[in-house]
Symmetry: C2
Subunit: 192 residues, 2 copies
């Protein structure tokens, strides 16, 4: 492929993913009434990876984890945000998300498409050390936001704490140290 | 330092940088009337680094470039966004930005504070291959946005094209290939 037509494909992808800035999450910013969007969320996760990777249960390739958190939500441009505590929806690798990944990563040249697809699938499968840690960080951010917002989505959507715990338990697989801290934060929050 | 007090400092930093989501840039999203904020902007640059690093003039350490673009605007939480074409303001390493960096990165444990500070200063100085490429990408994003917005801030603030060229010329230092493409885009835009 000529280098210029390769670049044009990459530029199309760069324009397309601007739409991630319009995908609203249920969670709100810290101490705030303003909903977070997926692009801001992805940036915040990347910063958290830079700051917290020393607590991963197993050593992780930070570059890989950063790539995972930066692109993990891009499928939501087509598939929309799935609320973690929505009981009516499947939460991983839905057909809708696979079609979205194929379309959006498919804007890129094949080598890059395959690379991004592989990173996203590795994240979704959650089996490698990098994916476990990336998923722990993805769970951690909204917990911190909810606690700073007097319960946030837990209160707003009446989520029982058993359900919360069942969903965020995965943090343990990525970092038992961060899990202990989160568990303590939630216990303090419930007492207050 | 005990590990828990180290974590509490890191958590304070993670909460503090949430404020980057409120810092509005002059530039608007692609084909849009909505201003971009610094957190979204930083995420988009990180994705552009993942997609375009093959065009850097010299090989770059992608992890280093990602860290640079992810944290380069954090000082604006205190110092505010400086519009690229604002002729009344100094654009690099102002006292205000240095004080902001010391305060915000200073929330972190010393080793991490020093590390983040060094990355930010390397970016600001723009001398290493990584800093040159990161700065090229930082210049590139608003050009693409302005072209998609019929001139965007160039028209809104009556910026002469000689001034535009003087400011974006730096893209060449990071990637002469991307510069050639940008030059062509701007020439096409001016003809249209």
């Amino acid at each position: 492929m000529k280098q210029v037509s390769r670049l044009l494909m990459q530029m199309d992808f760069i324009k397309e993913i601007d739409k991630l800035k319009y995908i609203q999450r249920k969670t709100k910013l810290f101490n705030s009434e303003r909903h977070e969007n997926d692009a801001e969320h992805s940036w915040h996760l990347a910063m958290m990876v830079m700051v917290l990777s020393e607590y991963a249960n197993a050593p992780v390739d930070m570059l890989k984890v950063l790539k995972m958190v930066l692109l993990h939500d891009i499928v939501e441009i087509d598939a929309g945000d799935t609320f973690l505590y929505d009981t009516t929806k499947n939460h991983s690798n839905t057909d809708e998300e696979l079609i979205a990944a194929a379309r959006i990563f498919g804007l890129l040249p094949d080598d890059m498409k395959n690379d991004f697809m592989a990173i996203w699938i590795e994240f979704e499968n959650g089996e490698t050390n990098e994916a476990k840690f990336a998923k722990a960080i993805d769970r951690l951010e909204p917990i911190l936001q909810n606690i700073s917002n007097r319960g946030g989505t837990w209160i707003e959507y009446n989520v029982p704490f058993e359900t919360v715990y069942a969903k965020i338990d995965k943090i343990k697989d990525g970092s038992s140290f961060l899990w202990d801290h989160v568990d303590e934060l939630i216990q303090e929050f419930r007492k207050a």
